[in-house]
């Protein structure tokens, strides 16, 4: 065979597209097939072969939990969440900065004597100049870095510290997104306590999870913009037409759910993401009126409705983790 070493090198470069664990087990085997299928005198992979291998490799990367689909249980879902949850929260913050609500007429704000800080936008880069938001973003970034490094206990301490900061009022984030704070403290901490942690999560989370979470984060930002636009004062300041945003948001969530089913992801993982979003969903579902706003005037019932289910879920996860399990019954010989 002509220049089989060169051809082999070319194939190996293509096989590098596959996820590392898959490659470890299958590279030699697929290479055998590729070399056997090569034409006489072929010196490099043909474009059709390259497309075929890359397509297969991308599919493998998007598929959940290669090899042998581990991580279908509750504990692994928590491990995935312990890693993906902080990254998701950070993505939501960054989208708020990257995609503000731009107003075209802020004269009425001034007429009402309301401060705008001279800004024509809600959210966006102006957030980065505000100390409360800097602290919030810094805390979220720190937690994300700690889980990426697999430092479970330090990440847990950082979540506790962030919660204290938030409680002390040192931490500020725009109102709709504030809803993620308490749910994240509860679920993030529970995931770190009750699961094998972000190191295990790193083996289970893949590009597919990333795409799903990004779609959900975009849906949240769209719905936040709609929420801002529907507040009475902002309505007066006239901004972009957001009437189609809720539909776009729903379409993104449906597409993300479809991807979860198609990629056969751990079924508990989307439930945890849904639980994280639950207080936010309650908020945006309530029609905006100036007199009854659950963000500014939460009653005890509001708070219980918002956080009790999350508290029970977090407590249940921790309880399951600390409760010794009964060994499975095995069939005895007849």
């Amino acid at each position: 065979m002509t220049d089989s070493a060169g051809l082999e090198r070319g194939y190996r470069r293509l096989l590098a597209w596959y996820p590392r664990p898959f490659r470890r087990e299958r590279e030699e085997e697929i290479l055998t097939v590729l070399m056997a299928s090569a034409r006489d005198g072929q010196r490099r992979p043909r474009p059709i072969e390259a497309v075929d291998v890359i397509k297969s490799a991308l599919w493998m990367r998007l598929r959940s939990g290669w090899p042998a689909r581990p991580g279908q249980g509750w504990t692994d879902a928590l491990a995935m969440f312990s890693l993906a949850g902080p990254l998701f929260l950070l993505a939501i913050d960054l989208l708020e900065v990257a995609w503000p609500y731009r107003m075209s007429n802020i004269g009425l704000f001034h007429a009402y004597g309301l401060p705008t800080g001279g800004h024509r936008q809600i959210g966006g880069l102006t957030l980065l100049g505000q100390r409360g938001f800097q602290i919030a973003l810094g805390c979220h970034l720190l937690i994300a870095v700690l889980v990426l490094l697999g430092l479970r206990r330090i990440a847990l301490a950082a979540i506790a510290g962030t919660a204290i900061y938030w409680f002390a009022g040192r931490y500020w984030i725009p109102a709709p997104l504030q809803q993620f704070s308490v749910s994240f403290y509860l679920l993030g901490a529970a995931a770190l306590i009750a699961s094998p942690g972000p190191r295990r999560g790193r083996h289970l989370v893949n590009w597919g999870h990333g795409v799903v979470l990004l779609m959900v984060a975009l849906a949240i930002q769209l719905s936040t913009l709609r929420y801002i636009a529907s507040t009475p004062l902002v309505r007066l300041a006239s901004g972009p037409d957001t009437s189609a945003y809720p539909w776009a948001s729903i379409a993104l969530v449906v597409a993300a759910a479809g991807l979860v089913v198609m990629l056969k992801m751990n079924r508990y993982f989307p439930l945890l993401v849904l639980a994280l979003c639950y207080p936010y969903l309650l908020l945006v579902a309530v029609p905006q009126t100036s007199s009854s706003n659950p963000v500014w005037h939460p009653t005890l019932v509001h708070l219980a409705l918002r956080y009790l289910p999350l508290l029970l879920l977090a407590a249940g996860a921790v309880l399951m983790a600390v409760t010794p399990r009964r060994p499975r019954a095995t069939a005895s010989p007849a």
Binding site: R26, E28, E29, I30, L31, T32, V33, L34, M35, A36, S37, I48, E49, D52, V53, I54, K55, S56, A57, W59, M60, R63, W66, A68, R69
Partner: protein
């Protein structure tokens, strides 16, 4: 069931085969119409293995190259038989209706 999946299971129905063997067998079974490439084959094999329709039978080293042989599991054989019966019934129905309407076969 996709045609490629059906043909891969059919290729394994007579005994275990390695990757390249499956490719050549699928080509023969389909009369040269279906030519599997390595990437497509291994995506399908992964899916079939995850669904417990096939399993790794054995490994061999031939001229310094690794060959892994796959075999059909009982569940895979059952699914293939059901699919073949379904296709046969559909084909029979189509042929009988073509005869009734005087179509050519």
């Amino acid at each position: 069931m996709q045609e490629a999946t059906f043909l891969i299971l059919t290729a394994l129905a007579q005994g275990s085969q390695h990757g390249y063997g499956i490719i050549t067998d699928v080509k023969d079974i389909s009369g040269g119409r279906v030519r599997l490439r390595a990437g497509t084959l291994y995506t399908a094999l992964e899916r079939l293995r995850a669904d417990a329709l096939i399993a790794v039978d054995r490994e061999e080293i031939v001229e310094t190259r690794l060959r892994r042989y796959y075999r059909l599991t009982p569940k895979g054989a059952e699914l293939l038989a059901a699919e073949a019966a379904r296709l046969q019934a559909n084909a029979a129905a189509a042929l009988s209706r073509l005869k009734l309407t005087g179509g050519t076969i």
